[in-house]
Symmetry: C2
Subunit: 453 residues, 2 copies
């Protein structure tokens, strides 16, 4: 079999790359090969355990690929022969390609040192419907759940399991939950909310061992504390699926990610890598990092799809701004760019401003939610380095406004002159828009330094 | 009395200018003078008649001015003596200023040719609590309401009055409702929704006369049709309140607006004008227009407040993008920049792309709303000229994303490489984000022209 464009992997990155490729090069045929019979909406996975009541309502329909003109094959690529430009499937089938896009994703991390990880009812959260369906059935009948790791997946799944009546305890080694995305002030808002919903949170102490005979029974923490655990869910990170690329002789970086340029090309110009398996760099410093997010993956996928045959001078991927949002208990949380902590650590002299208002106006309108915006700004240039948002349903798009500002290297001055649409039922007031008010706090601090007598 | 900064007018523009002035020049004292005993939230006014059940829940609290260090005086400025730098109030009091900001707003238009406009129960919608309270009481006991003019105020008030059980008919001379903000496709979505909520809409035909003895009884249309009307609400436009400035010898443009530069300064460098009374230009063409919106007014107010004493090289107001949003029947509508119709009229060669998805994902989640995005793009450069959105609660911030893209003169390429945060409960899917998908439609069309064989 011979195709023009072959995409390996059927999650967000693979789908977007395949559709973008077909849209940009309609004369080429595009084939997506994935292992899974059905592809899950990746960010919907935690909701399988609560709101959605199972994985069947969390399927990415293949009709999107079909209507976009992308062919689909279920199968596992076993070998890439890059000199011959051939992929070999486990079934023995061979597919010849002109351009190859590797979007093999990532696998949950299980620390080698963790005793008891092999016990029954110890789970991770892979993007694997068969695994998750079994896990869902098992978890149903068990009551005491310990979630290890308070990144957004750990937090979301904890809240969902609490919703369906489980006893849920989160164990987090860092001082705060969601500590990669938020500074302590916002993390603590999230933590208080989650606790008010009945989730028990233990921070500042890692897990040492899962204890049990055959099945998980309890969890032993580093400080000696013991927590009852019928189920243990490990959500402590993911590692890139780069072994296929490595075996093919494609260069891998020191963290195990496939090395790519700003067009998402590997060292073989006909092979692109995108998503969780592809090298990640920070937007501001271009330093390597290991951030895996759908926002990054789909942007990379579009860049790869657009640059497959004709290179663009401007459509490049310039590093991840780590933009993401989450929600629980009717409250949204969003982050983009550097946190205060990370910005300082990198060596920026920063000015921080924050403001709390409401997401509707007047605040007497029903369903009005508090809205908090924090901006992290480089003092030298006034450029926005990062932002954090806590609010209502509009939080997801509000953090995207900040994300766009970051990607445009907008200054506080540009934010302060911006025209912002407002409406009583949809946003905060024009006189009190928290993003603008936070920018004013920053501006006032910078002016005070500039025009000091 | 002598102050450093004097602001005339206490609605959105005046408040924001006063607070920005104090924040940027804390050593200066700032006094805001307004006529009204209590200031109304301007965009909340239509909701007085429904959701809010009166104007008392729609007050801008003066505590914002107080906590921002701005002094407040209730009074009417009667005369500006710019050579002496003195304002005289109706009370006879004189206030000397260093810098003066005129934010006198606008007044509803009543066409001179309209017979019967003087009849009882014919109203307009001024930002005047006393007037609106009387109107509210009168309207309470009357059943048949005719709203003349289907701009966003007319549409919002119609929906609110329908909510409280009135018979409401909208009369609009243009072919479509909301025709300044939206192209026909989006206007028709809005119209169908409003009609499904029981509002009767008559477009393509203007009003000729309000008929009645003492009180309004019916409305006669240009086509001879007669509509029963116990109440007539004229929402056909506003005129700038510039007579005070004109009397003072400050230059006024041909449309009656106070002429300003990009720092919002009048021809007297110590006098600024902002908001509905200040000259408006289009962002792209810099051509004069008459668009009055809080988004424009508050941006102008910040520019004036920041540039009062020290001019910035970058914090200027570069013309209105006419960004705004509205909502009724649980559906949000937003617009920014040029419509398809206006862009063509100005002479751009445009490419339009649109996409309909959902505002949550998977769409099986409860309260998922359709989300439609349309982009209007200049073919020559790929620069985004305008956007229109129909969606759920996140519509207000989604149009602000497009607004920021327009203000940054972002191209379709920059949108297509952008990192966008997504979350099941807050946004559409990363694979199906309507803004990106609409950009892809545009990109595909442009590529087809560029690389045509």
């Amino acid at each position: 079999m011979k195709v023009d464009v072959l995409v390996i992997g059927g999650s967000a990155a693979g789908i977007v790359a395949a559709l973008t490729a077909k849209s940009n090069y309609p004369e080429k045929n595009v084939l997506l090969v994935r292992k899974e019979e059905k592809a899950l909406v990746p960010c919907g996975i935690p909701y399988i355990f609560g709101e959605l009541g199972g994985s069947d309502k969390n399927i990415i329909p293949d009709s999107g690929l079909q209507s976009g003109g992308v062919d689909l094959k279920i199968g596992e690529v076993f070998d890439i022969k890059k000199d011959e430009k051939i992929c070999e499937l486990s079934s023995g089938e061979k597919i010849e390609y002109e351009k190859l896009i590797i979007a093999t994703g990532s696998t949950p991390l299980i620390p080698k040192w963790l005793k008891g990880a092999e016990l029954e009812n110890v789970f991770t959260i892979p993007k694997d419907k068969v695994y998750l369906d079994k896990m869902f059935e098992k978890v149903k009948s068990l009551q005491n759940i310990v979630v290890v790791g308070a990144g957004f997946i750990g937090v979301e799944i904890s809240d969902e399991l609490k919703k369906v009546g489980k006893n849920v305890t989160i164990i987090e080694k860092q001082k705060n939950i969601l500590s990669l995305a938020f500074d302590e002030d916002v993390s603590q808002i999230a933590q208080a909310l989650l606790e008010s919903r009945g989730v028990i949170i233990k921070t500042g102490c890692g897990i040492k061992e899962v204890v049990g005979v055959e099945k998980a029974e309890e969890v032993l923490l580093e400080n000696g504390e013991i927590v009852k655990a019928d189920v243990v869910i490990l959500s402590i990170g993911y590692q890139p699926n780069s072994s296929l690329a490595k075996k093919a002789g494609i260069k891998i970086n020191e963290r195990g990610f496939i090395i790519v340029d700003e067009y998402m090309r590997t060292d073989d110009y006909d092979i692109f890598a995108i998503g969780d398996c592809a090298e990640k760099r920070d937007f501001f410093t271009r330093k390597l990092n290991s951030i895996m997010l759908a926002s990054t993956a789909t942007s990379e996928a579009r860049v790869a799809g657009m640059n497959l045959y004709i290179l663009s001078a401007v459509k490049t991927f310039g590093g991840t701004i780590a933009i993401f949002s989450t929600a629980f208990g009717g409250t949204g949380f969003g982050a983009a760019g550097l946190t205060e902590y990370m910005a300082k650590k990198e060596g920026y002299s920063i000015v921080v401003g924050s403001f709390e208002g409401t997401d509707k106006h007047p605040a007497t309108l029903k369903n009005t939610h508090k809205q908090f915006v924090k901006l992290i700004v480089a003092k030298e240039s006034g450029v926005i380095l990062g932002g954090e948002v806590v609010g209502g349903e509009s939080t997801g798009e509000l953090i995207n406004i900040i994300g766009l500002a970051i990607q445009n290297k907008m200054t506080i001055g540009a934010i302060l002159t911006a025209q912002i649409g407002t409406h009583p039922l949809l946003t905060s007031a024009p006189t009190n828009y928290p993003l603008i008010k936070a920018a004013q706090v920053v501006s006032q601090k910078i002016r005070a330094s500039l025009f000091r007598n």
